[in-house]
Symmetry: C2
Subunit: 503 residues, 2 copies
Amino acid sequence: MSSTSVSSFAASLLVPSKNSSLSNHKRRLIQCSLGTVIEPKATAASEPLLLNAVRGQDVERPPVWLMRQAGRYMKSYQIICEKYPSFRERSENVDLVVEISLQPWNVFQPDGVILFSDILTPLSGMNIPFDIVKGKGPIIFDPIATAADVDQVREFSPEESVPYVGKALTILHKEVDNKAAVLGFVGAPFTLASYVVEGGSSKNFTKIKRLAFSQPKVLHSLLQKFATSMTKYIRYQADNGAQAVQIFDSWATELSPVDFEEFSLPYLKQIVDAVKQTHPDLPLILYASGSGGLLERLALTSVDVVSLDWTVDMAEGRRRLGHDIAVQGNVDPGVLFGSKEFITNRIHDTVRKAGKGKHILNLGHGIKVGTPEENVAHFFEQHLCLHLYLYLYPPLPPPQQPRPSPPPHQKAIFLSQPSLSPFLFSFKRSIQTGPGNAEKMCLHAVNSLSEAHKVVSDSELPVFVLDDVGYTTDSRSIPCVQLMNRVESEISVMLTDDLVEDG
Amino acid sequence: MSSTSVSSFAASLLVPSKNSSLSNHKRRLIQCSLGTVIEPKATAASEPLLLNAVRGQDVERPPVWLMRQAGRYMKSYQIICEKYPSFRERSENVDLVVEISLQPWNVFQPDGVILFSDILTPLSGMNIPFDIVKGKGPIIFDPIATAADVDQVREFSPEESVPYVGKALTILHKEVDNKAAVLGFVGAPFTLASYVVEGGSSKNFTKIKRLAFSQPKVLHSLLQKFATSMTKYIRYQADNGAQAVQIFDSWATELSPVDFEEFSLPYLKQIVDAVKQTHPDLPLILYASGSGGLLERLALTSVDVVSLDWTVDMAEGRRRLGHDIAVQGNVDPGVLFGSKEFITNRIHDTVRKAGKGKHILNLGHGIKVGTPEENVAHFFEQHLCLHLYLYLYPPLPPPQQPRPSPPPHQKAIFLSQPSLSPFLFSFKRSIQTGPGNAEKMCLHAVNSLSEAHKVVSDSELPVFVLDDVGYTTDSRSIPCVQLMNRVESEISVMLTDDLVEDG
């Protein structure tokens, strides 16, 4: 790849190979596929990168953090566990919470520092005694089964029940000092209800489903208590230093969509609406593992960010969610067990598919126990290379700079790799089914970026590049109509892997 | 609901309330919400209902069977387990396989009778010793980790290694005698590879991912052995009596779509293509739990039927897969823990969303241990009521009978419930962005079926009913363009829940 296409910004990060003065610098040199970059010095900004990215501002690279980034894969955490074997002690003692939360921050400098806690932490304060037992997971001592049990559940008062959370967040905010965003989190009502009805983790969720499908009113009254309580808890976290809050609704995806609409979605929406009234600028992130069948519904909650799991293609997730909403994710945590080269490639693939802006790079699930720490370090280091990578990206005009309107007989140029010609054919045929559409398009199969440039520079038309992602995803009717919609309404550019890489 | 809308076919199944001669009949009377039907007598047909449905023929109701319908939820099976505690013995002894396979057939008369076996059954014959241990699941004694291990894997010869499978299928075919379809099944290459690399069931799949993401060639050579072997196994099952074969690829959905495309899809496609060459009429069903992010890719395998899990809405699954492919599923197995009324409603909801034809009613996953047998009986009984239900269905013209072409200035009528008017508005606006589209539509919000009838009978236009499914699913751009496509190309009808139910 020729370095002439590297922007001046990116080039300024490249370390000249013979500049030995820099190599003595305390900051590390990071080897990227395009060259070497100096590890940026973390500096306090007016706002952390993560918040700027969520708000759609122009950022130099996607911010990055990892779900469960503080925890058992780190040797330093395991040492604390030996001294303090009780999870509840580790998560309810201010000093320990702060120390554990900062462990990954000190080593990897992620753009988000999430509170070390658990979604079940509020339960004691709601009169639902529980413990988290090593090797077994959470245990609810008196699982909820009846309306009378629900009556015994108290509404949550964070100030009284979990003052250590507020104190820890305040300290974290001060320590991190806007060099990263401090993140709080809560469990979603259906997920919390699953734990307290099942008595802990579950495989089949038969107890909560029996309740939902035979005594829905009992479940609804429990869900309402959690919705009210979690609204208060999010506000409390925000008031004490959390700069964004993630809502975990892991088990809602065990529901059919029609049941999600009854037992989860309304409560999520209620929480988001209520928090937005008092904290309109607090970004809310929603994560629900296994949500491939639910994406459009997740967007209906009005959260600012949907965190995609790894079983959804990032580009397809974007399309299904719409570009107004930010996305987080979605590298398979299993990728961190692969080779370093594989990890690098997957970061780039994910970032490319997410597109520029409104993307937080993350895993598609919590990091797994046993993940090699050196691979985590590699993940964080390589994401810094995205400085270079992203600036190689837009050789074709970005969407913000619309080209002049095309002549009416020809609406757009479609570029494609030659290997996609069977798709091009069916695409053309689909477009042609609309009256008067046959002459609206102009198909070019190009082998390289330079060929593409030539086609584009010879024309005043808007340009669409049909990428292989679109092909594999939407080989039926969707890409055609989506593209057709764009022909009708806007001017836009999509890039293919191959076109970008030929230089 | 007025009985005047019941078709004569459906009405003929209704038992006149005072006809006592029928109540003495050996066949049971089944109480449906619309009346009582006589349990149909199972009669040998030239072809089982299930096969006709898959082939798109006109069937009087969707065929039904349950994944894992022979097994632990049945008392009769538990009795056999006490006598024969080894799973391998139960699944490798011809008499036991036949007896267990026929247990649900004798009680519930499903339209599919699946062989009692396991996807791991071929492993011994491939030189991969294993056992299935109660409470632990499968155990692979020498998990595969290296290229040398893969070299030791033998290609499968079903005739030599599992003759009991062929014998059992032959007996089942004879016993069931085309009153239902005898179903065989196999594991997909990636899923089998996951078991043998992980050493059994897995939570995080870190071993196979480490292999895939650092030594892909080793994994590919293992996958190829499974693909070749499973192709032979499917052919063997079909040659010995299986009338359709289901491929289980449960663990492939643990992969990101891009990895599915490398490690699962090509092998599935290879199997399907090879089997179609020798057995072009054998329906192949593909099931992969958790496939909400993969649906379009599943269709690329060229299987005849995609079995949807319960986390995807049936109507949305249909849309994403396209109407050429048959669908199976997708009732949440947890529904069978709900009230009988809830079960009935969910059957109807699923069937309605699947639409008429090319649908096999099933669960979205295997039936759970602990499911009340009386609820399973209720599920099978209620599906018989679909005779009545389906014939109440098309009060508006079905797609096969196109109405006369509308005048050019107005292409279609869109009916909607008043509650959806915000959607109607945005829908109208979207359509209007296309030139000349504003006058193509005519929007009516109606409160009842009779209102709908009036609008329709006053017009010669094709009718679209905007259902709440479409609304919740595709509130962005898709429904508009999909509907618009239909306006352009065909005449069709969709029904809403509310409209159907008002009578």
